[in-house]
């Protein structure tokens, strides 16, 4: 049967066009009910016979109660295609979750294409709104189900829409609201998952706030969508993604294309209920309000306050606090450039980015008479998220737990958004719980690999087959003396090296990388899973793999004394480390030794050893030194970071000792050859595939980003030239003083001004943008760690295609998809780093819990009521308050120009980079919320 849909639309040029589309109705869509005999026997069936009722849900139920639907207590649900379409248009995140439910074989969620079914298709009626039409379609479909299945099964329409429910009952259907249905299931825990309809908000307010003044309207109403679109068009409003300052939740930025600059938004009332990641419309404030007011916390009369925690030293500008408001308002500075950044306020939210968040309940007195509904405030671990008000019936169970909460709504009357409880993770402070929180917060997939993924593994135990040896593209290098050098205890060895002296006095140097693409084929579930995970995640004492364990630790890992497949880059180098020729080949190798950095270093240093392996190591090292020198001359930056290392108790997995990770010559040697291999491969793949290569670039830092570094440097009389990476490298080399740690400190400060390097698809940018600032390389990519990074897998495929060993997978012909992969890799990579940092912070806390310590620290930044110190020994940084909290710091005078704080009348003063003695101790200002506190001694 044929129906035609016709509608009128406006084209981009503003012309009105009539569109007519066909709409085919069919009779071969089945009900999905297992015992149904009327339907085709071969059709997919999911709904079981002994179900109490078959549930038909409406759009709003899916949109708001997705957490409930995900609970295994809810089964036998029919999802109509009209509902799915509406959900998709309204909220893509929810749609993806419901899609996962529908495709999950273990859940009984059936998709019924009602719009395509002959009997359930409804025509638009004149004067009917699309909402009404969809509601009618849902009722018609429910009706069809009831009459199709007969009286034996109860079909229940679940809707919270009063009107819809009334009409359904009038038409003789069974209909219930979510709440009454869940109540009928008699599982009290489930009720917490039910989102309270928004009309309940006001009553909730009544319960909690007895102060009448609090009932006032707190936020201004959002502008209607039509006004926003017209405002955007005529340039009054500006659209962009809101990003909340990680270190000051009262300040946010909206990157606006129409202005070409970031708009600063200060204070919760100007943010107007926007969350981090929301797409918002912003109105600029008059220019006279653009000045940087320090008192912006005060205009929010909240009990929260800006407070910096002790945290790990940031490794790049992305991790570091923004140089927000502290400096430019210096007294008497007549510079006209004071705060040229526009300041605005949010007038509307174009797209919400509401998620579920990890955190805990704010401690509160237990209400009398437990068991009833209690209201509580939820504090997210992510400081960018405001407190969330939730209702619960199990308060006593949740108080000291880490829980997950989802946001539902935020009305103008309530200071905080309201949400609902989703699930409990575990006890606060418990190591496993907190680690899980870290993983959830960073969106890291820790689920075990699915059976489909595991089915893609080669038969185990894997051994080298004759076919691999007979492959003409694979060179047999088993006779070559190959070895690997890695951190101690490394199981996923993805690189190995060899170095042979050629008869002509040159060296043949080979870098052999695990041939992961021999096992991970494009388009397989294994490949998709790896692409989605993007990278392995390294936490303290734990590793979350990108590839299943047999591949990671055995089949791909280039372990000693076993034959392994590799992808090799082989150079001929002169003793002066000039590359004469480069060759790429798939190979078979047999590593003769898997050394740790310490072992390799010891061998090189022990002058008594003259065995061939040690000689190879020394040759490599001398080549590496020359290459490194050359790279530095070119302008590569030697940056420093304060990475720490834990010694973990094998029994309790608690940290025993903590110290700065030591970088040896051996590390630098391996690094040098990996860099060289990556650069060689980048050149090769770009030559063959100029439009679809995956490369890595490091943008040059802007003047603005380097400003904190320059300010610090100038305050101690150091002049840094930042015009290019070479100039910066040189002035960093010249930054010397009689203090041995001084140079490293400056380098650490420089490092944190840089952004991180990112992956990109070569077709998206021009050649000059490919530049890698930190390495001073015009081209760079990742090739050397395919076991733990998906980018390397992609590059392996590109290289194989460039060598004409393998065909280029079709995905490379799809530019947007490739860009999508690169974006996902950047996102995963960043999250993985954040997670490992968070894990280190967590273990630092556990370590100091039993060990209060006195140590030396360096001042890195001076603030109004104290300063930020950096503790070199433990790689952490945190605030020290000179005055007690709440006091506005009257008796200390800050000199911004010289970064110095002095107490008038005395000669006590603290300047930046000065060494101070501090005491570190874990305190618990509130029960179950331990934090690390630094105090001056």
């Amino acid at each position: 049967m044929l129906q035609s849909k016709s509608f009128v639309k406006k084209t981009k040029q503003g012309r009105i066009q009539k569109v007519v589309r066909e709409h085919y109705l069919r009779d071969d869509i089945y009900c999905g009910f297992v015992p149904c005999s009327a339907c085709d026997a071969a059709a997919e069936r999911k709904l079981v016979a002994d179900a109490a009722a078959i549930l038909v849900v409406d759009t709003n139920v899916v949109l708001h109660q997705i957490d409930l639907l995900e609970n295994p207590a809810i089964e036998d649900v029919v999802l109509l295609s009209v509902v799915l379409d509406e959900v998709k248009n309204k909220n893509l995140a929810v749609f993806n979750r419901i899609k996962a439910l529908c495709t999950n074989k273990a859940r009984r969620f059936y998709v019924f294409a009602n719009e395509q079914h002959r009997d359930t298709y409804v025509k638009d009626m004149v004067g009917e709104s699309s909402n009404d039409r969809n509601d009618r379609a849902i009722r018609v479909a429910a009706h069809w189900y009831q009459s199709h299945l007969g009286e034996s099964v109860k079909v229940l329409l679940i809707t919270n829409d009063r009107d819809n429910k009334r009409k359904a009952i009038e038409e003789g259907l069974n209909a219930e609201t979510v709440e009454s249905y869940v109540r009928s299931l008699a599982q009290p825990g489930l009720l917490d998952l039910v989102v309270v309809p928004t009309s309940g908000d006001v009553t909730m307010e009544d319960v909690e706030d007895h102060r009448p003044s609090k009932r006032k309207v707190i936020y201004s109403e959002h502008k209607p969508m039509s006004e926003i679109t017209s405002g955007l068009r005529c340039g009054i409003y500006h659209q962009g993604k809101l990003r909340v300052n990680r270190y000051n939740p009262f300040e946010a930025y909206v990157g606006s294309e129409s202005i070409g600059d970031e708009i600063v938004i200060r204070g919760r009332s100007n943010m107007n209920r926007a969350f981090d990641g929301d797409i918002v419309a912003v109105e600029l404030l008059p220019q006279d309000q653009w000045h940087e007011s320090k008192s912006f916390i005060a205009d929010d009369d909240e009990e929260e306050e800006e407070e910096e925690d002790v945290h790990l030293v940031p490794n790049s500008a992305d991790d570091a606090p923004r140089n927000a408001s502290s400096t430019q308002s210096s007294v008497g500075s007549s510079a006209p450039s004071v705060s040229s950044r526009p300041v605005g306020r949010v007038v509307g939210i174009i797209k919400r980015n509401w998620n579920s968040y990890c955190g805990s309940l704010q401690p509160m007195p237990m209400p009398a008479g437990s068991g009833g509904v209690a209201h509580a405030l939820f504090v997210s671990k992510d400081r960018r998220i405001p407190k969330i008000r939730i209702q619960t019936r199990q308060l006593e169970n949740l108080v000291n737990k880490r829980i997950v909460v989802a946001v539902d709504s935020w009305g103008v009357l309530s200071r905080y958004p309201s949400g609902h409880y989703v699930r409990t993770i575990g006890d606060i402070g418990d190591k496993e719980t907190e680690t899980e929180v870290v993983l959830i917060e960073n969106d890291i997939n820790t689920r075990p690999f699915s059976t489909q993924v595991l089915a893609c593994l080669p038969p185990l135990p894997w051994t080298l087959s004759q076919e691999d040896l007979a492959n003409p593209n694979r060179q047999d290098l088993r006779h070559v003396r190959v070895f690997s050098v890695d951190p101690p205890g490394c199981r996923d060895i993805d690189d190995a090296l060899h170095c042979t002296l050629l008869p002509n006095g040159n060296f043949e140097v080979g870098v052999h990388i695990a041939d992961v693409t021999n096992f991970v084929h494009p388009g397989t579930p294994l490949d998709e899973e790896a692409a989605q995970r993007g990278t392995s995640v390294y936490l303290v004492g734990q590793r979350i793999d990108m590839l299943p364990k047999p591949l990671t630790e055995d089949v791909c890992s280039l372990r000693a004394d076993v034959e392994r497949l590799a992808f090799s880059v082989i150079w001929e180098m002169t003793p002066d480390a000039d590359i004469i020729s480069t060759r790429y080949t798939k190979s078979v190798i047999k590593s003769c030794a898997a050394m740790s950095y310490v072992e390799a270093q010891a061998r090189m240093d022990d002058s008594r050893l003259v065995d061939p392996l040690t000689v190879d190591l020394r040759n490599l090292n001398s080549l590496a030194k020359i290459m490194r020198q050359r790279r530095c001359d070119r302008g590569a930056l030697t940056l420093a970071s304060a990475e720490v290392k834990f010694e973990i108790d094998s029994e309790t997995h608690d940290p025993l000792d903590i110290g700065i990770y030591q970088i040896r010559e051996a590390n630098q040697m391996i690094e040098e050859f990996m860099l060289a291999a990556n650069i060689s491969v980048a050149e090769k793949i770009l030559k063959h595939f100029p439009l679809c290569s995956l490369l890595r670039r490091h943008p040059s830092p802007t003047k603005e980003m380097l400003e904190p570094l320059l300010r610090t440097a100038s305050s101690i009389g150091l002049n840094l030239d930042v015009s290019s990476s070479k100039a910066l490298a040189e002035s960093l080399d010249n930054a010397k003083s009689n203090d041995p740690y001084f140079n490293k400190l400056i380098r650490i400060l420089a490092t944190r001004c840089m952004t991180q390097a990112v992956y990109f698809c070569s077709g998206d940018l021009t050649f000059s943008e490919y530049y890698h600032y930190g390495l001073a390389a015009s081209l760079y990519t990742h090739f050397t760690s395919p076991i733990r990074r998906y980018a390397d897998v992609v590059v392996h495929r590109l290289l194989a295609a460039a060598l004409e060993i393998a065909k280029l997978p079709p995905i490379f012909q799809d530019g947007p998809q490739l860009t999508g992969i690169a974006d996902n890799l950047n996102y995963r990579h960043r999250n993985a780093q954040m997670a490992s940092r968070a894990s280190v912070e967590l273990h630092t806390l556990i370590y100091f819990r039993t060990r209060p310590t006195d140590t030396e620290a360096r001042i890195v930044k001076v603030k109004a009521n104290g300063f930020i110190v950096f503790v070199p020994k433990f790689g952490i940084e945190g605030p020290i308050h000179l005055t007690p909290k709440g006091d506005k710091g009257g008796d200390w005078v800050v000199d911004e120009v010289h970064q110095r704080v002095t107490k008038p009348g005395t000669n006590i003063s603290y300047a930046v980079l000065q060494t101070v003695r501090i005491h570190m101790e874990v305190v618990e200002p509130q029960p179950h919320r331990p934090k690390l506190q630094l105090t001056l001694i």
């Binding site: 066009q17 007519v20 589309r21 066909e22």
Partner: protein
């Protein structure tokens, strides 16, 4: 945009990936012409009229006096698309399609039986919704048969595309403008020979084979339908004659 719903497996207009749009064919729609036909594939509707074989009008065009001269003119009606724009005669696109149709039809017409004569095929798109080139070829076949011009076999054509990693049969305008590959195939149905093969994007070799296979399936289905229409028409003529 998703052109194939991942959950239900239906296309935007409710078809499955391997399903064609509704076909409709009618012969003898233009009384003045020697042969004529109307052919519909869903919302795509074309009309074809055949004049000939007749004397060559412009002797200069005749290349080979031993064979008939086949000429073809493709036009889109100004009202055939959503935006009503003047379609100039002889623009690049219609010249190309005219040529394609002529070559495809020439392959099946027994031109050597009609020396020193000319056959004119006029195809006009009344309503365009993707796949006009295929519909025109199918209409021309019907019209040629209606005109009683001797042919080796029935030529039919169908397009297939590749979107959302799925081969799709008979693309409509929405799917056609999605930017994926569009493979138009024309075959001699009984002889199983390909007379037309066009593609306007890149496809991997093995996917291309799948897509082309699907298009050939479509062509065969159209051939069956066209044969039915012709048979029906012949029966009707038989009845009229008595």
């Amino acid at each position: 945009m998703e052109y194939v719903d991942p959950l239900t497996g239906f296309r935007v207009d409710g078809r499955r990936p391997n399903e064609m749009r509704k076909l409709k064919g009618e012969v003898g729609v233009v009384a003045r012409a020697d042969g004529s036909a109307l052919f519909e594939m869903g919302n795509t509707r074309v009309i074809a009229a055949v004049y000939g074989p007749r004397e060559v009008q412009n002797k200069g065009q005749q290349v080979n006096s031993k064979e008939a001269l086949v000429r073809c003119e493709y036009r889109m009606a100004e009202f055939s698309t959503g935006d009503r724009r003047r379609k100039p005669k002889g623009d690049r696109r219609s010249t190309e399609i005219s040529l394609v149709i002529r070559q495809t039809m020439e392959a099946s017409i027994l031109t050597h039986l009609m020396p020193r004569s000319q056959i004119d095929i006029f195809v006009q798109v009344l309503q365009a919704d993707g796949g006009t080139r295929s519909a025109c070829i199918n209409a021309a076949t019907l019209a040629l048969a209606d005109a009683g011009i001797p042919m080796r076999d029935i030529v039919t054509s169908c397009s297939a595309g590749y979107l959302c990693s799925t081969p799709l049969l008979d693309l409509n305008y929405l799917e056609d403008s999605a930017g994926g590959a569009d493979v138009t195939v024309g075959i001699l149905a009984k002889m199983d020979k390909v007379t037309l093969l066009q593609m306007d994007a890149k496809l991997a070799m093995d996917t291309f084979e799948n897509v082309m296979g699907l298009a050939i399936e479509g062509c065969k289905a159209i051939a069956t339908y066209i044969r039915e229409v012709l048979l029906e028409n012949t029966k009707r003529l038989e009845c009229q004659r008595g």
